[in-house]
């Protein structure tokens, strides 16, 4: 491990749960944790083609606490996927507080003939939902209904 290796890496892990899928996410900042949770969720929705131009959508959300905001964020992205038919690949959190979020997300238009669908995600649940600040960064957990 090099000297420049950060004390807390960025990433996500899919966790077994009988009927659903848990997502554990971590990163140095809360923004990165939100972005990782989005990547984890879309890894279960659809594989991107990575060709052509991306379409951007602005997202603005409010919730009573930051962990509820994390669940609301993932549910908002699932809405954008289905209603706008965009396979989202880029997630830029522009502003994040304990109770509000503003982000710009981008993706490629869904082409049912070419995109390879994964199992799909119905929604992010509040069961065992958590988001915590630790000494060296942030860690969260969201259970997805799949």
């Amino acid at each position: 491990m090099s000297a420049g290796y950060p004390s807390m890496s960025v990433g996500y892990e899919l966790v077994d749960h009988t009927a659903d899928i848990g997502v554990r996410v971590w990163g140095p900042t809360a923004e990165e944790v939100f972005e990782q949770a989005a990547l984890a969720t879309f890894s279960l929705v659809c594989d991107p083609l990575d060709v052509g131009e991306l379409t951007a959508v602005e997202v603005a959300l409010e919730a009573e606490s930051m962990d509820l905001l994390l669940a609301a964020w993932l549910n908002e992205l699932l809405y954008v996927f289905e209603a706008r038919r965009l396979v989202l690949t880029q997630f830029d959190i522009e502003d994040l507080s304990d109770t509000s979020l503003r982000a710009r997300v981008s993706g490629e238009p869904l082409d049912p003939d070419r995109h390879i669908m994964c199992g799909g995600v119905k929604a992010a649940t509040l069961h065992e939902l958590s988001l915590e600040r630790r000494d060296d960064g942030w860690e969260g957990f969201v259970l997805l209904d799949v």
Partner: protein, 477 residues
């Protein structure tokens, strides 16, 4: 948590802590070897803490660890002082199953199975992306959501007989599209007539065994007959409605001073504005799901007509019945000798009304309501009938399926989707799937044996075995 065995297949969790009533689990002893069973039983106990719960927090033999409620959970809440919980219905509101009979036998279908499955795949979109079979104009979805399958009848996509043989007549009362968010309408507009992803499927099956000839004859099924089973729900429309309301209910529960052991149990007192709005929107999602499965039946009829070159009437492609297994309904049940109006939450559980119930269609009333139990992909499915015992013990409810054993991730590690496809094909089953990986997640080894689940509900009398079906072709979401 204490668990007492009170019968061969019955376990009680005596009230402790905040529990208002006991938990009661109908299960095979092997439940206690199952991964995640402790969490699932804890969820039974958690549901028992909800205000207004009547008699017991009940779970069926296909119980497994869910979010908030266990999957396989049944809870009746008093209409006067109880609550409604969107988590007790789930994100896929009115996920359900319909069984369609045909006048064709195994020999008629065997040689045409590949073209039939191809035609079904072409007509019934699978996976989470594609448009459904019905395209609605702006503004039409609100009416469909209020009228359900009846909306389709006026367009020539459903018959009166189809409506009669759908739970609630295919139209859940109390639906008000004004309670549905713009987001839900946007998601749902292109999805009517689509299978969706996850464990949803459409199967062509053959009736392999009849165990109750009188009921089978009333339901119009017999040995060797080809039938079609459709398992799907309310798609993104229902998911969005649940999402919208869980958030609102978390605040409502806090205001009503309800302590929740799990935030996904968020609920509101029946009669509160939050509860009224949720129930009006939930009824819309129920109607969406009825219409969704009806539209797929219409496409199934089209596929049979094209492949067998005769009208669907002549081919006898008729609806046996359509049941919901994720729903909260107002029903009147006799509790300790007194009639009580309750809101019955069925989360992965099926209504199983017994003989004589006015809610069972007249042609089935003597034998009880048909209960349709989809098995895991590639093994078997069951047709059961509702009973008096279910009316007395479980608010007229029974199991809903095989019940998961392995997580999706664990299932993928056992075998790849391609291997699962090969095994099914070796067994003579034609497989069409939107996602090959999804095949592994839904493989038979990921589920409890549906025969064991059905054996328990039959043994304790919550429903009666009528017929067993084996798959010939699988169309997987």
């Amino acid at each position: 948590m204490r668990i007492e065995r009170t019968g061969e297949f019955v376990y009680e969790i005596p009230p402790e802590g905040q529990m208002r009533v006991p938990g009661r689990v109908y299960a095979h002893a092997s439940l206690f070897d199952q991964a995640g069973h402790e969490e699932a039983l804890q969820q039974v106990a958690n549901v028992a803490t909800l205000p207004g719960i009547v008699s017991a927090s009940i779970a069926m033999p296909d119980i497994h660890w869910g979010y908030g409620f266990p999957i396989g959970g049944v809870a009746a809440m008093d209409e006067a002082d109880g609550v409604v919980s969107p988590g007790g219905v789930g994100f896929d509101i009115n996920c359900g199953v319909r069984l369609v009979r045909t006048a064709l036998g195994l020999e008629d279908v065997r040689s045409r199975l590949e073209p039939l499955m191809h035609e079904l795949m072409r007509r019934v979109p699978q996976g989470s992306g594609p448009h459904g079979a019905l395209t609605l104009k702006e503004g039409e979805l609100g009416r469909l959501a209020e009228e359900g399958a009846a909306f389709l009848a006026r367009r020539g996509y459903a018959t009166e007989d189809d409506l009669l043989h759908t739970e609630e007549g295919g139209m859940m009362p109390g639906a008000d599209s004004a309670a549905v968010s713009r987001r839900a309408l946007e998601r749902g507009r292109t999805q009517v007539g689509s299978l969706g992803s996850g464990n949803h499927f459409l199967e062509v099956q053959v009736v392999e065994e009849v165990l109750d000839e009188r009921a089978a004859s009333a339901f119009g099924v017999g040995p060797g007959q080809v039938v079609v089973m459709i398992h799907s729900g309310s798609r993104g429309f229902g998911h969005q409605i649940c999402t919208d309301h869980v958030g609102r209910m978390a605040s409502a529960a806090a205001r009503a001073g309800i302590e929740l052991p799990d935030r996904q149990l968020a609920c509101a007192p029946l009669g509160s504005p939050e509860a009224r709005e949720y129930l009006a929107a939930m009824a819309c999602a129920c109607n969406f799901a009825f219409a969704n499965r009806q539209m797929m039946l219409h496409e199934v009829r089209g596929a049979f007509e094209r492949v067998f070159r005769a009208s669907w009437n002549r081919l006898g492609v008729e609806l046996v019945y359509d049941v919901c297994h994720n729903i909260a309904k107002r029903e009147v049940h006799v509790v300790d000798g007194v009639e009580r109006a309750v809101r019955v939450h069925r989360k992965g559980a099926t209504r199983a009304f017994g003989p004589g119930s006015p809610d069972v269609p007249p042609d089935y009333r003597d034998v009880g309501q048909p209960v349709i139990i989809p098995g895991d992909m590639g093994t078997e499915s069951w047709l059961l009938a509702g009973t008096e015992t279910a009316m007395r013990e479980t608010f007229g409810s029974t199991c809903h399926g095989a019940g998961r054993l392995l997580s999706r991730h664990a299932a993928r590690k056992v075998r790849s989707g391609a291997e699962v496809r090969r095994e099914l094909e070796d067994a003579g089953i034609v497989v069409k799937a939107a996602s090959v990986g999804g095949l592994a997640e839904e493989a038979p080894f990921a589920y409890k044996d549906v025969a064991d689940v059905v054996a328990v509900v039959d043994a304790v009398g919550l429903s009666r075995k009528v017929a067993r079906m084996r798959p010939l072709g699988v169309l997987k979401g």
